[in-house]
């Protein structure tokens, strides 16, 4: 295994001999996955396993008048055709609300639509057959009579009195509303030298995972137990929800999550068609498999963003930012998604806007409305790309208006690096951020002055290049403040159990999960370092509610920071336990010993005393030779949850360099930089790849991705040819740098890094495009994605 040290370690407390912390250790699952030996849910095959396919509503809003399954049931291989009312006898509906999002309301949602389909793509009937192909053949014969209902699609008019109310019981189409008014906003605007006001629009888009959503549910009547093989980010959360809605005890449900082919927040929600699978398995008493195909994924995987933000900034001529104000509106589909709700993205926008800056005056208003489109919920970097683009868009527009350099206005207003601990106007608490150090590092990395000179020189030749920046903050390592306090049974704490095997290797069971991001590698590195063995001597087990400590899984950039700290503490605890055994064997005080590279050594001299294999042999097979009353404990468990701060904020800054072809409106990305501060960098390569992947998803939002709907609620581009995911050929080289401000909330000091790239990339691409076009007098572009057509219209080339 090749281990490269590409970042000199800045560690102190973690500076154990042979530490893997801060080293680019290749992930242990790499060979297995690249040799095609992964074990995805799609690979699971069980005896008597049946496959389900769904008949989905072609209408955005329709009453289901009648469903006739007679012909479908006669098709070869068909086991059952089940409608919503039939399935409702096995599984109860749910409502996606959280009590700490005050006033948030939603309607009960069923596993299969009962009498009404509320979006195009909602399942109205399930067909279970021997194979997926047979199930699809039979689906074509299910007769559904619909009576179309008025569709609500435009958020702008969703609350109008004349607009149809989607759920009559709720009274209106408002899901959630929040207002915030801090400082003296009106006075600040009135006293400003300049005020910039504009409207930002963010396209509705979705996370496109390599492996689609997949689930196999196996109800075993003999055991009265349900085993679910599930491509999910949060196995314990799903265990709770499956049990709750099937009327089972949690002990009757086991969720197994082996390899997952990418998640990005898509796989951390309750999907009606997945709830239907567990219910069908219980109903039919046999394993049932569902693998979403790409076409149905586009209309059922959660969508995200789709915000319209009217925004305003005030500045003084010296660059001081006086106030921010936003009015946000979003449409989230017909239901708030369970159990995390669809109010979080809007809530985050209110929390995060203006966050990097020391500006005391801030007013925000957001409204979240229902509509007849696919549901929206949390997707990588929830709310951040929007809050960041609004903030950073305003900051660069303000800088342009007063004729100030975009970096200077940031230097003037970013919270000072020595101001911590401090907070934002919206009430966020910051432990230690490094906006200025990050900016300085970025300026060096990108050779800023040379780049500006090149930009100017090329303009004289009619080549329009732009440089754009985005400072950002990112929520990571959430405490119970995110969901737990709102009543959702989503664990904020996480645990790790480490045991010594009989040959002196260790096995870690962790509550966090592997989605392809490298959590397994990070846990192995931390455990190996804390305990004192080579990483080859560590096995990591994730994703099994029967066998891993209770935990939250992977979301909100928490796996390394929270799961990693639990592993660190468990590794230390097991080391103490093993040294106690070794001490009694060696007649030495345990505090004088240490474990290094699988050997118990004298802590002071490093002299080898006894191998771990020998300690294990004695403890397991000759405990009779240990002193009377001494019991070896060769398995240790520790849990961790951040307590000092509700969230561990990270920060950073990105820059984009690009060229706009002013004839065609096409944008060529030339280079991208990201400096971020995620505290302790456990594995530089994994962090950099998280940043790069995140940047690419952010570029997708800025230039390519959009779920296009017509006014009748039909998605028009739900396929991989028409929905443009960013692809390698168009991506720039992405250079990463780090500033390290460890969190003092944990010994490891690691914060999250999974969403930083996505948070800042759309903003800096937008700013770079506007920077490129400014000399041409183009109206600033603020409506993502920035297609060639939009750029041509901004340039006045096309009307």
């Amino acid at each position: 295994m090749k281990i490269t040290d590409d970042v000199p370690s800045t560690l102190t407390a973690l500076d154990r001999p042979n530490s893997y912390i801060g080293r680019s250790v290749p992930r242990p699952n790499l060979a297995r996955l690249t040799q095609g030996r992964g074990h995805y849910v799609t690979d699971v095959t069980l005896p008597r396993m049946a496959h389900v396919a769904y008949v989905r509503s072609p209408h955005a809003h329709a009453r289901i008048v009648r469903i006739d399954t007679t012909a479908a049931k006669k098709m070869p291989g068909v086991i059952a055709a089940v409608t919503g009312p039939e399935l409702a006898k096995v599984i109860t509906p749910w409502v996606g609300v959280l009590t700490h999002l005050k006033g948030l309301k939603s309607a009960p949602q069923s596993a299969i639509a009962i009498d009404r389909a509320c979006w195009q793509g909602e399942a109205v009937c399930a067909v279970v057959a021997r194979t997926r192909a047979e199930a699809e053949d039979a689906c074509a014969l299910v007769q559904v009579d619909y009576e179309e209902l008025p569709t609500v699609t435009d958020p702008e008019t969703a609350l109008d009195a004349a607009t149809h109310v989607i759920h009559a019981d709720l009274g209106d189409n408002l899901c959630f509303e929040r207002s915030l008014d801090v400082g003296t906003v009106d006075a600040a605007f009135a006293g400003s030298d300049a005020v910039v006001e504009t409207t930002f629009v963010f396209g509705r888009h979705t996370g496109v995972t390599n492996e689609p959503r997949a689930i196999v549910a196996d109800w075993n009547p003999g055991e009265q137990r349900l085993t679910v093989y599930h491509g999910t980010q949060a196995p314990h959360m799903m265990q709770n929800l499956f049990a709750k809605h099937l009327g089972l005890e949690e002990s009757q449900v086991r969720v197994l999550t082996k390899d997952v082919g990418g998640s990005f927040g898509i796989k951390v929600h309750t999907y009606a068609d997945e709830m239907a699978v567990v219910a069908l398995s219980k109903l039919l008493k046999r394993p049932v498999k569902f693998v979403a195909d790409r076409i149905e994924s586009f209309v059922t995987d959660i969508h995200a963003r789709d915000h319209r933000v009217k925004a305003k900034i005030g500045v003084m001529n010296d660059g001081t930012i006086t106030a921010f104000e936003i009015d946000d509106l979003t449409g989230i589909g017909p239901y708030s998604v369970y159990p995390r709700t669809s109010g979080i993205e809007a809530n985050q926008i209110v929390n995060l806007t203006g966050g990097p800056y020391a500006c005391p005056n801030y007013r925000a208003h957001t409204r979240v409305v229902f509509q007849n489109k696919n549901v929206m919920c949390q997707y990588r970097a929830v709310g951040h790309p929007i809050a960041c683009a609004v903030t950073e868009g305003l900051v660069e527009l303000a800088a342009a208006k007063i004729g100030m350099d975009p970096l200077d206005i940031r230097r003037k207003n970013l919270i000072a690096d020595n101001a911590y601990p401090t907070g934002s106007a919206s009430g966020l608490k910051f432990e230690a951020l490094s906006h200025h150090a990050s900016l300085d590092k970025l300026v060096k990395m990108m050779d800023h002055d040379a780049l500006r000179a090149e930009q100017t020189a090329l303009r004289h030749k009619g080549i329009y290049r732009g440089i754009g920046f985005a400072s950002f903050i990112e929520v990571t390592n959430p405490s119970a403040a995110f969901y737990g306090v709102g009543g959702a049974k989503i664990s904020a704490q996480d645990g790790c159990t480490i045991k010594l095997d009989a040959q002196g290797a260790i096995v870690c069971h962790t509550g966090v999960t592997e989605q392809g991001q490298g959590a397994e590698a990070v846990i192995a590195q931390v455990a190996a370092s804390a305990f004192g063995v080579a990483i080859e001597r560590v096995r990591v087990i994730t994703g099994d509610t029967d066998n891993t400590p209770y935990g939250g899984g992977t979301w909100a950039s928490r796996a390394a920071g929270i799961g990693g700290e639990a592993a660190w503490q468990a590794g230390k605890a097991l080391r103490q336990n093993v040294l106690a055994v070794a001490g009694s064997i060696l007649q030495a005080k345990p505090e004088t010993l240490d474990i290094r590279d699988s050997q118990v050594v004298d802590a002071g001299t490093g002299k080898e005393r006894i191998g771990l294999d020998e300690v294990a042999r004695i403890a397991y097979f000759r405990p009779d030779t240990l002193p009377p009353g001494f019991q070896a404990e060769l398995m240790a468990t520790r849990h961790y949850v951040p307590r000092a701060f509700p969230f561990s904020f990270t920060n950073g800054i990105q820059a984009s360099y690009l060229e706009v072809d002013t004839d065609s409106g096409f944008v060529k990305l030339l280079k991208h930089w990201c400096v971020e501060d995620c505290g302790t960098v456990i594995n530089p390569q994994l962090v950099d790849e998280q940043v790069r992947g995140g940047v690419v998803q952010g570029i997708g939002a800025a230039l390519y991705e959009q779920c296009v709907y017509d006014e009748r609620g039909q998605m028009l581009n739900g396929n991989m040819a028409d929905y443009l995911v960013p692809m390698a050929s168009e991506m720039p080289d992405i250079q990463c740098g780090h500033v390290v401000s460890p969190t003092a909330d944990s010994e490891l000091g690691a914060k999250g890094a999974g969403e930083a790239g996505t948070a800042g990339a759309p903003a800096c691409v937008m700013n770079a495009i506007n920077d490129a076009l400014r000399p041409l007098g183009a109206a600033p572009l603020t409506d993502m994605p920035f297609t060639p057509g939009k750029i041509l219209r901004a340039l006045g080339r096309v009307s």
Partner: protein, 282 residues
């Protein structure tokens, strides 16, 4: 999604393929590279009862010179055309266009015949053949015939091929010393079907051009000749050529861009492609 059930037969000869096509009119499809067909099957956009695989018919594959024509067998893979020295020399337009078609993995399987027969309005090859004044050779139950590219593309995914016809080869007049060609397209991502594209040929006429053929793709149901612009370009008036495009092509809105943007981009392409042709040297 899974395709509806279908039968499969591997044709051992051209005649057998034609015979099989006649067995269930409209319910049989030829399988060439499968890069378009299998996707339509999987999405259940088409549900043929039988696929007739013509991948074993070696007589349909290969590139050869026949006097003053290049003959490209229908089953010739796109990658072979991309890499062929004969193509680069005698039909350089194809060499320019090929890298824009899909991705290498798809070009390894996809055939020229499949692309022409499928006739996607945004595909490169139909427009190239139109610009090249190619001829399409067809074998059917009543024998062989040849159709000019200008007459081959009839409508959206509709060609001169009858239900029992097999496209066997494409004939292209070899490029003479005064041959000029140009190709460009606008696609959001490398390998995507173009928003608008232009394949063009001409003959050098001093510093200018004559016999200009401009074949746009992505702007209508079939490749579209821009005849007014061809005349203007031959007359050496590029601005007029661009201006006259509004009379030549009538692109429709699609999910990527609206008609006005496509119309504008068509003009940008014309300037770029004209430049390629006038700057080229033999």
């Amino acid at each position: 999604m899974k395709p509806a059930p279908f039968g499969y037969a591997k044709a051992r000869s051209l005649d057998e393929a034609i015979g099989l096509l006649g067995q269930q009119p409209d319910g049989v499809k030829l399988l060439a590279g499968g890069q378009s067909l299998i996707a339509t099957l999987n999405m259940r956009l088409s549900e043929p009862r039988l696929l007739v695989d013509i991948n074993g018919l070696h007589e349909l594959s290969g590139i050869r010179l026949d006097n003053d024509h290049l003959v490209i067998g229908a089953m010739t893979r796109q990658v072979e055309i991309e890499r062929s020295a004969d193509i680069a020399r005698h039909a350089p337009l194809l060499a320019k266009a090929l890298p824009h078609i899909a991705h290498p993995a798809i070009r390894n399987r996809g055939t020229i015949g499949g692309s022409i027969a499928f006739a996607d309005p945004a595909a490169e090859l139909p427009a190239c053949l139109t610009a090249l004044s190619a001829e399409i050779e067809i074998a059917g139950p009543s024998g062989k015939r040849t159709v000019r590219a200008d007459d081959f593309f009839k409508g959206l995914f509709e060609t001169a091929l009858g239900p029992q016809d097999v496209l066997t080869a494409i004939r292209i007049p070899t490029a003479l010393a005064d041959h000029r060609c140009g190709f460009d397209e606008f696609a959001r991502r490398l390998g995507d079907y173009a928003i608008v594209g232009l394949a063009a040929t001409a003959r050098a006429n001093g510093a200018g051009l004559k016999d200009v053929r401009l074949a746009y793709f992505g702007v209508g149901a079939t490749p579209v000749r821009a005849s007014r612009a061809e005349v203007a370009l031959a007359a050496g008036d590029l601005d007029k050529a661009v201006a006259s495009l509004s009379g030549d092509i009538d692109p429709q809105d699609d999910v990527q861009e609206n008609a006005a943007v496509k119309q504008h981009l068509a003009g940008v392409l014309l300037r770029r492609v004209a430049k390629q042709m006038t700057e080229a040297r033999s």
